[in-house]
């Protein structure tokens, strides 16, 4: 239903005491010495970057070196994990798992989120409650039942088992987030599309979907990163060397009595790079997405 649009009148701006004090605070902030800003940020950055430097150092310095600078550099650890330790295969499997989880989670969350945002149905509130509560169930608790279900479905040792399990565990939060984004899109826009001859699906596709880009990127990237890093399902459902993923591969670099720190660091960098790249490209949408959808349930 389309209602008459009543433009709201902007309230007259009054310079109150609090407004003036805010202004003073802004000026004080602008006039603050640069070091007061950069010193805390620098300290924070140092704490954040030192562990990464340490990983980088171990990854590129030769075995047995105790040098604190990465020189001379060697690629032997990367070559070792990539070829001898099958990281090329693990990487490929992780990409397949991550992308498939991203797609399935996004599509199903979009459909479910739309239903939650636009329809009222009996049991909606309990359903939302169950969705929220499902976040408190640890995956380890469901390992045996999931294992048996996947065994019945002949999905053990197939990447599909991990994709399905990851999607199922990602969906509740993703649906809640997406429904929040959809609620932010005025219903009247869809109604206008219907008046112009669109059906519900077409109206959704041309009017609502383009406005959901930040939300879809937030949900999709969250699903990808979670699937990329998740260890437990891949360890339990995949018992073939050629099906295992990066987190399992990383764990095999630590044996019961010895650990190859160079290989472990190189493996860690290989595991981290895709996640860093994903975040570098999507961070602006990610921040918009989470801030606009997360708190409106």
């Amino acid at each position: 239903m389309i209602t008459d649009y009543q433009p709201s009148v902007a309230p007259e701006v009054k310079h109150t005491r609090s407004g003036r004090s805010r202004g003073r605070r802004h000026r004080a902030w602008d006039e603050a010495p640069r070091w007061q800003i950069y010193l805390p940020l620098g300290i924070y950055l140092l704490f954040t970057l030192i562990p990464f430097y340490w990983i980088f150092l171990f990854a590129v310095r030769p075995a047995g070196s105790t040098s604190l600078v990465p020189w001379p550099m060697t690629g032997e650890h990367f070559a070792k994990v990539w070829t001898e330790r099958s990281f090329a295969t693990y990487f490929q499997n992780s990409v397949v798992t991550g992308v498939a989880t991203l797609l399935m989670t996004t599509v199903v969350a979009l459909v479910g989120g739309y239903a939650l945002a636009r329809f009222d149905f009996r049991g909606k509130r309990p359903f939302m409650l169950v969705l929220l509560c499902s976040q408190f169930v640890p995956g380890a608790l469901l390992l045996v039942p999931l294992f048996r279900i996947f065994a019945e479905l002949q999905l053990i040792n197939s990447l599909a088992s991990v994709v399905v399990a990851e999607t199922v565990f990602q969906l509740p939060l993703s649906m809640i987030l997406i429904s929040g984004f959809i609620r932010n899109v005025p219903y009247s826009l869809e109604e206008a599309a219907w008046v112009d001859g669109c059906n519900r699906f077409h109206g959704f596709r041309v009017v609502v979907l383009p406005l959901l880009r930040p939300g879809l990127i937030a949900v999709g990237s969250f699903a990808f990163v979670h699937a990329w890093n998740h260890f437990l399902f891949a360890l339990m459902f995949l018992s073939r060397q050629d099906k295992q993923t990066i987190p399992v591969g990383l764990n095999t670099l630590m044996s019961a009595d010895s650990v190859d720190l160079g290989a472990l660091a190189a493996g860690g960098i290989i595991a981290a790079v895709p996640v860093v790249i994903v975040f570098a490209f999507i961070q602006k949408w990610l921040i918009t997405g989470f801030s606009s959808g997360a708190v409106k349930g």
């Binding site: 048996r148 065994a151 764990n251 095999t252 009595d257 010895s258």
Partner: protein, 441 residues
């Protein structure tokens, strides 16, 4: 949303049916739980889970290639399982199905897996095998004891031994003798410490895995050789209490304060890359030391008392077993026999720096040239070490010796709990677990 009551009922019925079908699938028996398996034809595929996957993958793949060359009608699928997760992987597979035909099972988790009736007893097969009388009796006894005492569920592949690694370059520079006795050990730890220069005499294990090392130090100094005195444990014997008090007194005095959270990874990395005189760890880290400190270190069995008595706690013996659910036990046994043959067992243990279970392999040239392994093997086999057998057969041993008591040991290091209270608590738990175990026998 559909307002048609028929369609709504249909949807509800469909949802209910799906839920019930999934529940039935989850609760149904997939045939592996309690499955007795089959002997099989001795041909075809078998799956092998390596309980220490990754670091030993290359040598296992080599052994598997040799086996497949000799047995062209058997294919072995190798799966490397991370050592830290292998227990949960086995537990899930026992409950949910999907166990391998053959698997590596260390003595520390053997009791828990055997208690779930998942492993095939191997006594009869061994009695008819060429391996009979070729495996170390001490190791065979150890895996038999860990499995409950009556049957043998795994064949031992290797043993490890507590080793005191020390930096020969630092000892020479300080004019110190090798730390062969506890008296020399404490003196060296003190002399090598110069906190201002970040030099320390010793690194103590305060984090994960600390209990076994603490017990090794306590029994090693007290000279007590039995873990049980009747139905009561000897861990809180006054001699052990005094020994542990002296040992934890090293913390921060001659060790880095960060040792509070040391697991073996941090401890070994710290020793390999720093200026620390001594490290207590088993033979398993030999290759790591070799890479980092070649020519600058030695590994000797733990120190003796001043009268020459050497007491150490037992290290878990590694082994491989056949799972009851295997559909091809004949082929699985062929693989186990091959893995424990002279050549394969020697190859595997040389890569791991461990003591071979195959007696012929234990006499090979590489054992003589790998000094730490040679000394450990000699000390174990010539009877100069008195081994305190830790109760790996207790299903609760893993939790008692790890998560249940490691935080308390950290309190002892920090001076928030006395060594006596710590050992008394541990003793109470052990006595209870032993009584429970006896009741179930």
């Amino acid at each position: 949303m559909s307002s048609n009551p028929r369609r709504r009922r249909l949807a509800a019925a469909l949802a209910l049916t799906t839920a019930l079908a999934l529940t039935a699938a989850a609760c149904g028996d997939d045939g592996t739980s309690g499955d007795k398996g089959k002997e099989g034809s001795g041909k075809g595929e078998i799956t092998f889970w390596d309980n220490n996957g990754g670091v030993r993958t290359e040598v296992w793949k080599e052994i598997i290639a040799d086996f497949e060359k000799k047995n062209p009608d058997i294919k072995v699928n190798y799966v490397g399982i991370p050592a830290e997760s292998v227990q949960s992987k086995y537990d899930t597979a026992i409950q949910g199905g999907g166990l391998p035909d053959v698997g590596g099972v260390g003595a520390a988790m053997l009791a828990a897996i055997a208690a779930q009736n998942a492993l095939e007893p191997l006594d009869d097969r061994l009695a008819k095998s060429p391996l009979k009388d070729k495996l170390s009796t001490a190791m065979v006894d150890s895996v038999r004891a860990a499995g409950g005492g009556e049957q043998m569920f795994t064949l031992p592949t290797s043993a490890n031994n507590g080793t005191l690694w020390y930096r020969t370059d630092l000892f020479e520079a300080a004019g110190l003798d090798e730390p062969s006795t506890w008296t020399k050990f404490y003196a060296a730890a003190e002399k090598l410490t110069d906190k201002g220069k970040n030099h320390f005499g010793y690194t103590i294990r305060g984090g994960e895995g600390s209990i076994a090392q603490a017990l090794d130090a306590a029994y090693g100094q007290s000279g007590i050789t039995e873990f049980w005195n009747g139905d009561k444990t000897t861990v809180n014997d006054p001699k052990n209490v005094a020994a542990l008090e002296k040992y934890v007194g090293l913390f921060k005095k001659v060790t880095p304060s960060a040792d509070l959270n040391n697991d073996f990874k941090k401890m070994v990395a710290q020793w390999d890359s720093g200026e620390i005189g001594m490290l207590s760890h088993n033979l398993g880290s030999y290759q790591d030391h070799l890479k980092a400190l070649e020519g600058k270190f030695r590994g000797i069995p733990n120190p003796t008392l001043d009268d020459g008595t050497r007491v150490q706690v037992s290290n878990p013996v590694d082994g491989i077993g056949i799972f009851k659910s295997s559909k091809n036990k004949t082929a699985a046994w062929k693989f186990v026999e091959f893995a424990l043959s002279h050549e394969s067992n020697s190859k595997w243990n040389e890569a791991a720096g461990a003591i071979p279970s195959n007696l012929e392999a234990a006499g090979d040239g590489w054992v003589q040239s790998a000094e730490a392994t040679k000394l450990a093997a000699a000390a174990l086999n010539d009877g100069t070490i008195k081994i305190v057998q830790l109760p790996y057969y207790l299903p609760d041993w893993n939790s008692l010796s790890k998560a249940d008591n490691e935080p308390n040991f950290q309190k002892v290091l920090l001076g928030k709990m006395s060594a006596k209270d710590f050992l008394d608590t541990l003793a109470g738990q052990l006595d209870e677990a032993q009584a429970e175990w006896k009741k179930q026998q």
